[in-house]
C-alpha cells in the first residue's frame, strides 16, 4: 500500500516541480529576453568547465565505484600550476603568438601534472583499499582532498590570487548578448578533448580494457587484462581532464585560491550525478545543465541571486537523488552484491 502511494505521489510531485520550473523560466523570458539569454550564456561558459571536471568523477566512478573527493582539489592544483607556469615561469601576460604557444604548452603540462598526481594518489592509497569495505576508500578520498587543499594553501597562500590571461580579452556581441572572446576557445578545447576521450574509450584497446574492468574486474583479469594498469590509466585520464579544466578556469576566471576546488568539485559531482554517474555523455550534459541552472539563478530578474547559488545546486542534487537516482542518462543497475 505504502509502495503504491509512493508510486503515485512521486511522478506527480516531479511533474509539479517541472511545471513550476518551466513557468518560472517563461516568466523570466517574457520579462527580459536579453537577460535570459545572457545569463544562459554565462552559465554555459561555466558549464563547459563543470563538464570537464564531471568527466573525471564519472570515469573514476565508472571503473571502481569510488567518489573521488580529491578530484576537485586536483583541479585546484591544476589552476595554480597553470597560473604559475604561464605567468611566473613563461612570463606571458597578453594574447599574441607567444601567448597561444604558451597556452598550448601549459595545456599539455597541466594535463600531465594533474594526471601524474592522480595516478600517484591511486597508487599510494586507493589501490590498497580496493577490496576494503566501501566506507574506507571514501574516507581516504576525503582525507586526500584535505591534504591537496593544504598543498594549495602552502603553495599559494590563503588569499585570492589574480593572474593575467593569454586568451583574447574583451567581449563580442551577438544581438544584445555579450560573449567573452575566450569562450569559443574554451569550447573548442573542451570539444577537442572530449572527442579524443570518446575515441580512446570506444575504439582503442586501452578503452576496451577500461570497459571490461568496469564491468567485472575479476573476469577482466582472467581475460589477461592488467587491471592495475587499466585503473591507473583511467585515473591519468581523469586527472588530465582536471588539469585542462584548471588551465581554462585560471585563464577565464583569472582568480584562484586553495579552496576553489572544493565548491567546484561538488558542483561538478552534482553534474555527474545529474547526467547519470558512470555515463560519459551524461557528465557533459549534466555539466552544461548545472552551469545553465546556476547562470539562471544568478542572473535572472526573479532568480534567488548569487548568494543562494550553492543552495540551488545542492537542492538540484537532492531532487535528482530523490526522483531519479540514476540520473538523466544513467541506466538502472542493481548494486553489486
Amino acid at each position: 500500500m505504502a509502495l503504491r502511494t509512493r508510486a503515485v505521489v512521486e511522478p506527480v510531485a516531479a511533474i509539479i516541480i517541472l511545471v513550476l520550473l518551466a513557468g518560472w523560466l517563461i516568466w523570466n523570458l517574457a520579462e527580459s529576453p536579453s537577460q535570459f539569454f545572457q545569463s544562459g550564456i554565462d552559465g554555459l561558459s561555466n558549464g563547459v568547465l563543470y563538464a570537464l571536471i564531471a568527466l573525471g568523477y564519472t570515469l573514476v566512478y565508472g571503473i571502481i565505484e569510488l567518489i573521488n573527493f580529491a578530484h576537485g582539489d586536483l583541479f585546484m592544483l591544476g589552476t595554480l600550476f597553470s597560473g604559475y607556469l604561464v605567468t611566473t615561469v613563461l612570463g606571458l601576460h597578453k594574447s599574441n603568438v607567444e601567448g597561444w604557444l604558451g597556452f598550448a604548452l601549459t595545456l599539455i603540462a597541466a594535463m600531465a601534472f594533474c594526471g601524474v598526481i592522480n595516478v600517484t594518489i591511486e597508487f599510494l592509497a586507493y589501490r590498497r583499499l580496493r577490496r576494503a569495505p566501501k566506507l574506507a576508500p571514501l574516507i581516504t578520498a576525503v582525507g586526500m582532498s584535505f591534504i591537496l587543499q593544504q598543498v594549495g594553501l602552502r603553495w599559494n597562500g590563503s588569499t585570492q590570487r589574480q593572474w593575467p590571461s593569454v586568451l583574447p580579452a574583451g567581449q563580442f556581441s551577438v544581438g544584445s548578448i555579450n560573449i567573452d572572446r575566450s569562450f569559443p576557445v574554451v569550447v573548442i578545447v573542451t570539444a577537442g578533448l572530449l572527442a579524443i576521450m570518446t575515441w580512446v574509450v570506444t575504439t582503442t584497446r586501452a578503452g576496451k580494457a577500461m570497459r571490461a574492468t568496469a564491468q567485472d574486474q575479476d573476469a577482466a583479469r582472467l581475460m589477461g587484462i592488467n587491471v592495475n594498469r587499466t585503473i591507473s590509466f583511467t585515473f591519468a585520464m581523469g586527472g588530465a581532464l582536471a588539469g585542462a579544466a584548471g588551465l581554462m578556469y585560471q585563464q577565464t576566471v583569472g582568480t584562484t585560491r586553495y579552496d576553489a576546488g572544493f565548491q567546484l568539485g561538488l558542483i561538478a559531482f552534482t553534474a555527474a550525478v545529474l547526467g547519470g554517474i558512470g555515463n560519459l555523455t551524461g557528465a557533459v550534459l549534466g555539466g552544461l545543465l548545472i552551469g545553465v541552472i546556476q547562470g539562471f539563478n544568478d542572473g535572472l530578474p526573479h532568480g534567488l541571486g548569487q548568494q543562494w547559488s550553492q543552495t540551488v545546486v545542492f537542492s538540484v542534487l537532492i531532487l535528482v537523488m530523490v526522483f531519479k537516482p540514476t540520473g538523466l542518462l544513467g541506466q538502472t543497475v542493481g548494486e553489486k552484491v
Binding site: 565505484e65 569510488l66 567518489i67 592509497a125 589501490r127 590498497r128 583499499l129 580496493r130 577490496r131 576494503a132 569495505p133 566501501k134 566506507l135 574506507a136 576508500p137 571514501l138 574516507i139 581516504t140 576525503v142 582525507g143 586526500m144 582532498s145 584535505f146 591534504i147 587543499q149 593544504q150 594553501l153 574486474q217 575479476d218 583479469r221 587491471v227 592495475n228 572544493f262 561538488l266 559531482f269 552534482t270 550525478v273 548568494q307 543562494w308 550553492q310 543552495t311 545542492f314 537542492s315 542534487l317 537532492i318 537523488m321 530523490v322 537516482p325 548494486e335 552484491v337
Partner: protein, 429 residues
C-alpha cells in the same frame, strides 16, 4: 569457521561484572578527578606553577569545548559507527541546535516577549527566554525531526550517494543561516552578525568570592563543565543502551549486510531513520550547549571541515565503540584548540624555529584519515565486531586468493609466505 565463533557474543553470564563496568567507572572517575583538579585551581589551593601549566596546556574552556565535540562525535558514531551510513554533513545538526539555542534563549525576536523560567540578561527587553533545560529538549527534538526529514527521501540511496546528499545538506543549512537575515523579508538568523548574546544558564556558580545559585557568567567554566559532563554522560548512556537493544542490533546488522538484514526481517527504512534521528538528537544537544558556551551563534563556524573533524574523531577512536570515540574526540578537540599551538610554541622555543604549527591542522587531519584507513581501519580502540567487519576482504577468500595475491590483500601475505615455504621444502634438493 573461526569467524563465526568470534562474531557470536559471549553469553551474558560469563561476562564478568567488572568487565562490564570498567569503562563507565573509568569515565566517572576521570570526570570527578578533572573536577577536583579544577576546583582546587579555581579556589586557589594550587601552586602557581600548576595553575600556569593548566592555563596554557589544558584550560577548562578547551575541555568544555572538547566535551561539545564529544557529544557531536557520539551522535555521528550512531550514524556512521553503528548503522554504517556515511554522513558528511553532520555539522548541519550542530548548527540547527545552536540556532535553536539562539532563538529560544536571547532577545533576538524582540517583538515577542516570552519568558518561561528563563534567565534574560538584566536590562534587556523582549525576546524569547526559555529555561536552558527546556531548550535542550527543544534542540534535540528539532534536530531529530530534521534528521528524519533529511533521511526520509535519501536513505533509499546507495551508501556513497547518501554521503553526497548529506554533504549537500551540510552545505545548504549553514548557507541558509548565513543568508538568513532576509528570507522573504523576515530576519531568520541575523545573517553574518549572528544571534547573541545568548542567555546565561542559572546554576551553581563556584568561585573564590563565594559559591551560590546564580547566573553563570563567562568565567564560570567549572559550573558549565558539570553541565556538559552530565549531558555527555546522558548521550553515552543512550548510545550504550541502544547498542545492546533490539534497535542497536538491527543497526549493526544493516551495517554488516543490508541485504541479509532485510531478509531477516529488519525494517530497513525505519531502522535507518532511527539512526539518523538519534544521531541528530545528540547534535542538537551539543549545539545548544555550544551556544551557551560561546555566548553568540555565528553562521561561519559551521563548515565542511567541522564535519570532517568529527568524522576523523570517530574513525580515529574506533567506529562503533563509544569509549574509543570519546577518547578520539577529546584528543583531536584538544589538539585542535590548544594542543597543537602549545606543542608548536614549545618546539619553536626549544629549537629557535618559527613555524606556524596551527596552520598545519587540516593537513594533519587529512593525513590522520588517510593513514588510519590504510593501516588501522578499525581505529585505535576498536570493538571486536567492527574490527572483523572492516578487516575481512570484500569478496570470498577463494576469489581474493585467485586475484593479485601479492598486491591487493596485505593480510594474505603471510599465507602466501607459508605456501611458498612449504613448496620449497617439498621439492627434492
Amino acid at each position: 569457521m573461526s569467524t563465526l565463533e568470534t562474531l557470536s557474543p559471549a553469553p551474558a553470564g560469563r561476562r564478568s561484572f567488572l568487565g562490564r563496568v570498567t569503562w563507565p567507572v573509568g569515565f566517572l572517575l576521570a570526570a570527578i578527578l578533572v573536577f577536583v583538579f579544577y576546583y582546587a585551581i579555581t579556589m586557589g589551593y594550587m601552586g602557581d606553577s600548576v595553575v600556569s601549566f593548566a592555563r596554557s596546556w589544558v584550560p577548562l574552556t578547551s575541555i568544555n569545548e572538547a566535551l561539545v565535540w564529544v557529544m557531536c562525535a557520539l551522535g555521528l558514531n550512531v550514524v556512521v559507527g553503528y548503522a554504517g551510513l556515511l554522513d558528511l554533513g553532520y555539522v548541519a545538526f550542530w548548527a540547527i541546535g545552536g540556532y535553536v539555542g539562539g532563538w529560544l534563549m536571547s532577545s533576538f525576536f524582540n517583538h515577542l516577549n516570552i519568558n518561561v523560567l528563563g534567565n534574560p540578561a538584566p536590562f534587556t527587553t523582549g525576546g524569547i527566554h526559555f529555561n536552558f533545560w527546556f531548550v535542550l529538549v527543544a534542540g534535540a527534538v528539532v534536530c531529530a525531526v530534521f534528521g528524519v526529514i533529511i533521511g526520509a527521501p535519501t536513505l533509499r540511496l546507495r551508501s556513497d550517494y547518501l554521503a553526497l546528499v548529506t554533504l549537500g545538506f551540510g552545505e545548504i543549512i549553514p548557507q541558509v543561516f548565513h543568508n538568513g537575515d532576509n528570507v522573504g523579508g523576515f530576519n531568520l538568523s541575523n545573517g553574518t552578525k549572528g544571534i547573541g548574546p545568548v542567555d546565561e544558564i542559572k546554576g551553581l556558580s563556584i568561585n573564590q568570592a563565594g559559591s551560590g545559585w546564580r547566573s553563570l557568567g563567562p568565567f564560570d567554566d567549572l559550573s558549565r563543565y558539570i553541565i556538559f559532563i552530565v549531558l555527555t554522560a546522558l548521550i553515552v548512556f543512550i548510545s550504550l543502551r541502544l547498542r545492546v537493544g533490539r534497535l542497536g542490533r538491527a543497526w549493526l546488522a544493516i551495517r554488516e549486510d543490508e541485504l541479509a538484514a532485510s531478509a531477516m526481517g529488519v525494517p530497513l527504512m525505519r531502522t535507518k531513520l532511527a539512526a539518523y534521528g538519534v544521531g541528530a538528537m545528540a547534535g542538537g544537544l551539543a549545539g545548544v550547549a555550544f551556544a551557551t558556551h560561546v555566548g553568540t551563534v555565528l553562521p561561519d563556524g559551521f563548515n565542511f571541515s567541522k564535519s570532517i573533524i568529527l568524522l576523523a574523531m570517530v574513525v580515529l577512536g574506533g567506529m562503533g565503540n563509544v569509549w574509543g570515540v570519546i577518547i578520539g574526540a577529546l584528543l583531536l578537540a584538544w589538539f585542535n584548540s590548544t594542543g597543537l599551538k602549545q606543542i608548536g610554541t614549545t618546539i619553536n622555543g626549544a629549537f629557535g624555529t618559527d613555524i606556524n604549527f596551527t596552520s598545519y591542522t587540516f593537513l594533519i587531519f587529512g593525513a590522520v584519515l588517510v593513514l588510519m584507513m590504510l593501516f588501522r581501519r578499525e581505529g585505535f580502540l576498536p570493538e571486536a565486531r567492527t574490527r572483523l567487519v572492516l578487516r575481512e576482504p570484500g569478496r570470498t577468500e577463494v576469489e581474493a586468493l585467485g586475484s593479485d595475491l601479492e598486491e591487493q590483500a596485505p593480510e594474505l601475505d603471510e599465507e602466501l609466505a607459508v605456501l611458498e615455504h612449504d613448496r620449497g621444502k617439498g621439492e627434492p634438493e
